[in-house]
Amino acid sequence: MSAFASHYTYWITVLLMAAGLYIVIARGNLVKKLIGLSIFQTSVYLLYIAPGKLIGGTAPILSESYKVYSNPLPHVLILTAIVVGIATLALGLAIVVRIREAYGSIEEDEIVAADAGRGERE
């Protein structure tokens, strides 16, 4: 198998990473930015988990009949990272809800325009 095909998980990772980061930068809608951020974080899950799997490997169960084990540690790490990601997304959405209450909009340019009249002295 060529290096390209055998490392396809890395290509997916890079694609997700770039797509997520692009959405964060290019979109002005605060919810869409958070969606991009989530995709960006998800790419990391794949980066960790994919190399932990050995083809033909099993969960690490001590037994005579299993010889090849997959590494369980990346899964555990990513469970933690998923929790962190959910907490971040939840907090981000909660802040967006409060921004909508305060400004009546979730478009970045409209929000910035709404504050433009206020001096920085306040």
Binding site: M17, L21, V24, L30, K33, L34, L37, F40, Q41, V44, L47, Y48, P51, P74, L77, T80, A81, V84, A87, T88, L91, G92, I95, V96, R98, I99, A102, Y103, I111, D115, G119, E120, R121, E122
Partner: protein, 493 residues
């Protein structure tokens, strides 16, 4: 028995205080618990620092799982020093917060403030004490998420936008960091920092290792607000509640600097980072840009809090300049300034919180003639301002002195000149406060309500006194920083 578990308790006590506060809800009890937890953390960190000074390195196996399999907590000369700074600021801001939070937040939110305050402190202490790269990421996120909440608690609606922007940029930074750690894990098969440091030299500067170094550098630079990745900082500091600003400004970016130092000098090693790659040149270039542009921008701010926030970006530039020099004196300067700037900015933001409470805002037009109604506060701001400039006899001077020594040691005499020149810009922006407070007439018909509450003044002045004290007695700051610099450059701990 208890003493042996201090490294764990250091983090666990503030962490456990947070849910307890949420359960009990009463503002008074919440405050008392937050003060108790942060004072305990300070006591623990002092005890750990004394122990480290006596025995070298403390290694604590979490849950009795021996490292590198279990998570290791590791205290050495560098982390003990940063722990003392973070927990000292934590223990000072908590008692201060009582009056400040009562004035700035609705009563129903008080317990939430204290709960998040404890979480933030636990996260920052955890980042400093842990010896595991992935565990560091988790603590980084605990600290960051609680900071976003602290900022969003600000009264102004722009606090929400500031918090959102910080959330997006902070998450990108943390994710970059965790990508870097993932690449290191793929390359070495370990997450323990000491273990990483032992295994990395065997694989050398291969491409995954270099990619990991780049990801970690960019991610942590976002967190520590290295120019030009500082854009989240001014709004976050300006609109957060006063007590939160003081905690963030004095500790959050400093702990990120610690993470950068830890990865550069412990994990990757000076041989790869400084000798083989142009990291020094990049850091020095960005630091100069930070110091010059942020100082100039600070000059034109119409609001004292924003002025100090931009000044923070500039002062972080001095710290990273020391890191970039990567000589013994340069690193000493970085670590000393990390501490000195922490206490100086802490003092300034605490005093500004008093002004916000009594004058109703911190725009410069409200500061006119303030010295007549708030003499102690204004004197404090002026003295801490002198430390910000680096006038001899203040803590700031000690940092600048070692920075100049470090620049000369590295053969960059022009850098030494630049450090002195840019301090002159700091003179100009501190003078703006002095001019407004001492030399202007108070606006007619509007009297400020007098001096800040004593509980806030005592705490603020404790830090102002520290700014002066550490300008004369440098045995703790410079001594600690020199031991840390030796440790980073591979000498005896």
């Amino acid at each position: 028995m208890i003493a042996e578990h201090l490294p764990a308790l250091q983090v666990v006590v503030p962490l456990a205080a947070a849910p307890l506060i949420v359960l009990l809800r009463h503002p008074g009890i919440a405050w008392a618990l937050a003060v108790a937890a942060s004072v305990f953390a300070f006591g623990a960190s002092v005890a750990l620092a004394l122990e480290v000074a006596r025995t070298g390195v403390i290694s604590y196996a979490m849950g009795n799982w021996p490292p590198p399999w279990g998570i290791e907590y590791r205290v050495d000369a560098l982390s003990a020093f940063v722990l003392v700074l973070v927990s000292a600021i934590g223990a000072l801001v908590a008692p201060y917060a009582w009056r400040s939070v009562a004035a700035e937040l609705p009563r129903a939110q008080h317990y939430l403030f204290y709960a998040v305050y404890c979480l933030c402190l636990a996260g920052l202490l955890g980042m400093t004490i842990t010896g595991d790269a992935f565990n560091l990421f988790v603590f980084m996120e605990i600290a960051s998420l609680s900071m976003y909440v602290l900022i969003a608690l600000g009264r102004d609606r722009r606090a929400l936008l500031a918090s959102y922007q910080y959330l997006v940029l902070g998450t990108i930074g943390a994710t970059f960091y965790v990508i870097g750690v993932g690449l290191l894990y793929l390359a070495t098969g370990t997450l323990n920092i000491a273990d990483l440091a032992a295994r990395l030299p065997q694989i050398g500067g291969t491409r995954p290792v270099l990619a990991a170094l780049s990801f970690i550098t960019v991610g942590v630079s976002l967190k520590l607000a290295l120019f030009p990745l500082h854009l989240w900082l001014p709004n976050a500091y300006a609109y957060a509640p006063s007590a939160a600003t003081a905690l963030l400004a004095a500790t959050a970016t400093k702990v990120s600097v610690y993470v950068l130092l830890r990865f550069y000098f412990t994990v990757f090693g000076a041989a790869l980072v400084v000798d083989a790659l142009p990291v020094s040149e990049i850091l020095i270039g960005l630091s100069i840009a930070a110091v010059v542009t942020a100082s100039l921008v600070a000059l034109w701010q119409a609001n004292l809090k924003r002025l100090l926030a931009y000044s923070s970006v500039a002062q972080i530039g001095y710290i990273t300049l020391g890191v970039g020099l990567a000589t013994r004196d340069g690193l000493t300067a970085a670590v000393v300034h990390l501490f000195n700037h922490g206490i100086t900015k802490g003092a300034l933001f605490l005093l500004v919180g008093g002004i916000a409470l009594r004058a109703g805002g911190v725009g410069f037009e409200r500061l006119q003639g303030l010295a007549r109604t708030m003499p102690l506060t204004c004197l404090g701001v002026t003295l801490a301002g002198l430390s910000l400039i680096g006038v001899p006899g203040t803590a700031g001077f000690i940092s600048k002195w070692y920075l100049v020594l470090g620049a000369l040691e590295a053969g960059h005499w022009w850098l030494a000149g630049l450090v002195v020149l840019t301090s002159l810009i700091a003179v100009a922006y501190v003078w703006r406060f002095v001019e407004a407070a001492y030399l202007s007439e108070p606006p007619a018909g509007k009297a400020s309500a007098g001096e800040a509450p004593w509980s806030m003044l005592v705490v603020s002045w404790a830090l102002v006194a520290a700014c002066i004290w550490f300008g004369f007695d440098t045995s703790f700051t410079v001594g600690g920083a020199q031991r840390a610099a030796l440790l980073m450059l591979g000498g005896a701990p």
